[in-house]
Amino acid sequence: MMGGARLDLEPVKEYGATPVHQRLLDFARALRSNQFVIGSGDVADAADALSSIDLMDREQAHWVLRSVFCSNVRDWARFDGVFEAFWLKHDAPSTVISSKDASGKSKVLNVPNRPDPKGAIANFMEGISPAEEDGPTMEEGTARSEGASAIENADTADLAHLADREELDRVRALAQRLSKRIRYRQTRRYKFGAKGERLALRRTLQKSVSSGGTPIKLYRRQRKEKPFKLVVLLDVSGSMDLHSTFFLRFMHAILGEFEKAEAFAFHTRLVQLSTVLMERDPEKFADRLTLLAQGWSGGTRIGESLAAFNQHYAPSILTSRTMVILVSDGFDTGEPEQLAQEMAALKRRVKRLVWINPLIGQEGYEPKAGGMAAALPYVDLFASAHDAKGLEALESELARM
């Protein structure tokens, strides 16, 4: 097994692996716990690639592994640190690496998404994340202790006044108008059929092959339309108390009117609200929300919450036909650098990024330069609104693509 034969390696075969194989598997695991996405094929390829070079040449091995295991700029930037920690300090266990991960994100906790009257809501607030694909490390212990300390306000917020009829109607009407105006966006692809301005000559010819070249049916072409998606991220921290309930109503209306929409709330962590908000009856919805409201009105970590969004939800939710509306006052206890970095990542994935700040224009409000200033370069529209009237004034701005 120890000979110089071609390394034949599959991750399932952990027993009987040579020391090099075993170290490589451990290394892949260390990378996974640092949010690298690594498939089983990658490990086998890495082994194959290593067998073609001189293993004693650390630099070459470093380059080879980096090319195989990295898949984007973020991986690229983090790889060297993990590599050095793993291969150069032989006694350092891989968990040390994962805990000193610079981003300091909360660890993934695998919570099954089934109804569980007692546990579900508590889990929800502990920071639900989709299960990691094939990550073998589920650090439940760390996650649990972290969750407990991060809930900064265990009081239940009073959300009963959510079911205010008049304002609800106005917001719903606004959401309806918005969805009509931006529901579809033309794509560059063509749809062929009986309708359309131009005759599609190639298609007509193509289809006439079956009738021996006589173009019996004429095809026309028009631009295909695709549903536009709206994602709302709402800050529900203490400083937003006065406004968050109004924006919850707005989110509820958006989810009801848009064909494709998602809603999230964040304070010190991120919570997906879409499923709860899909409840069509406003009173029932308020009930369900109150249950979720523990821990609201605490501090804010916008950067971290966005990082969680970018990591767990963005790949499956965001497309180039998506608008993201972020509602927050910009009071952030996290690092501005992280916020800027995550805003940049978010902006790369979406068509339009809107930041609504309800506190602008109010007396005594001074946006702390750090967080807000760091985020602004990535925002397409920065506006102020805190009630139905304010949002209505923004209607045409929001609808503009």
Binding site: A49, I53, R188
Partner: protein, 292 residues
């Protein structure tokens, strides 16, 4: 099978100075038969990697430039309908059974091979450059992934076309759009950074072997200093070479001795109005004196 040094030497022979890490990635791409995804700022020579690789290995280069709305009839294959119809008309009066006529009309003769299909049908593995993949839309990534993972294309009327050889695939991206994780995972990854001072000097000398040694050093240090400024569009390698050509053409031997005219030649380097304003004549002179 080439190793890292061979790749580096072969590329240097055709004028591409590759960092050893990049040469290693190219060697691994050949060994593992996986595509190589190159990311980095515009102007760091991502596309040139593929062009030079094809030249260095003496392989054919097949290039697919991506754009939004690119679909499989432009990337993979399309039937030549006009010729098919002509053929049908000609065959109408021939004594031939229907199946044979159909087989004739849907034969390879009538198949228009677009870049992806063409690449896998070459006998000698070509270099396939899929340029600016981030400009294509998500739908296209799906086709591409299918071709790149199985190296085969199924054409309903014709059957499955298997690759005659596995091409060397180089994808480039400027990260204007996030690529799908599936595509990223399929590829090896290399981030192409701006070259180091020494590497850029070698690139410059490879293109202009007769350049004055001192001037070459000044040009490179000046450009390197500019890249540290807060510019909208940082100068790439092409800008360095353009500027060097301009200075050589003007018989300049020392950039700090140019005074005002130095700033005028910077049109080769600073390409937006705001960047030109950020680096005014005095500031340019200051940098020039510092790097002299």
């Amino acid at each position: 099978m080439l190793n890292r040094e061979d790749v580096q030497k072969a590329l240097a022979k055709v004028g591409y100075i590759a960092e050893p890490q990049l040469a290693m990635a190219i060697a691994m791409m050949q060994r593992l038969q996986r595509p190589l995804l190159l990311e980095g700022d515009a102007g760091v020579g991502k596309t040139q990697v593929a062009l030079s690789l094809a030249e260095a290995l003496g392989r054919k280069l097949i290039r697919l430039q991506c754009y939004e709305g690119l679909d499989f009839s432009h990337a993979l294959y399309e039937w030549n309908y006009q010729r098919q119809i002509l053929a049908i008309k000609i065959l109408e009066n021939e004594d031939m059974d229907a199946a044979a006529k159909e087989a004739h009309v849907f034969s390879e003769e009538f198949l228009l091979k677009r870049p992806l299909l063409q690449a896998i049908l070459e006998e000698e593995p070509p270099v396939l450059l899929i340029d600016e993949i981030d400009r294509a839309d998500e739908e296209f990534e799906a086709y591409l992934l299918e071709v790149l993972s199985d190296y085969q294309v199924s054409i309903p009327e014709f059957g499955t076309v298997k690759a005659r050889s596995i091409p060397l695939v180089v994808l480039t991206s400027n990260a204007t759009r996030e690529l799908s994780d599936a595509l990223r995972r399929r590829c090896l990854y290399h981030f192409v950074d701006y070259p180091s001072e020494a590497a850029e000097l070698r690139i410059l000398k490879a293109h202009y072997p007769d350049i004055d040694q001192v001037l070459a050093g000044q040009i490179v240090r000046f450009i390197q200093a500019l890249r540290h400024e807060d510019l909208f569009k940082k100068p790439g390698i092409a800008e360095t070479l353009d500027w060097a050509a301009a200075l050589i053409g003007l018989n300049v031997t020392r950039i700090e001795a140019q005074g005002k005219s130095l700033h005028q030649t910077l049109m080769c380097v600073l390409k937006t109005r705001s960047d030109r304003e950020a680096i005014g004549p005095e500031y340019a002179q200051m940098i020039a004196e510092k790097v002299a």
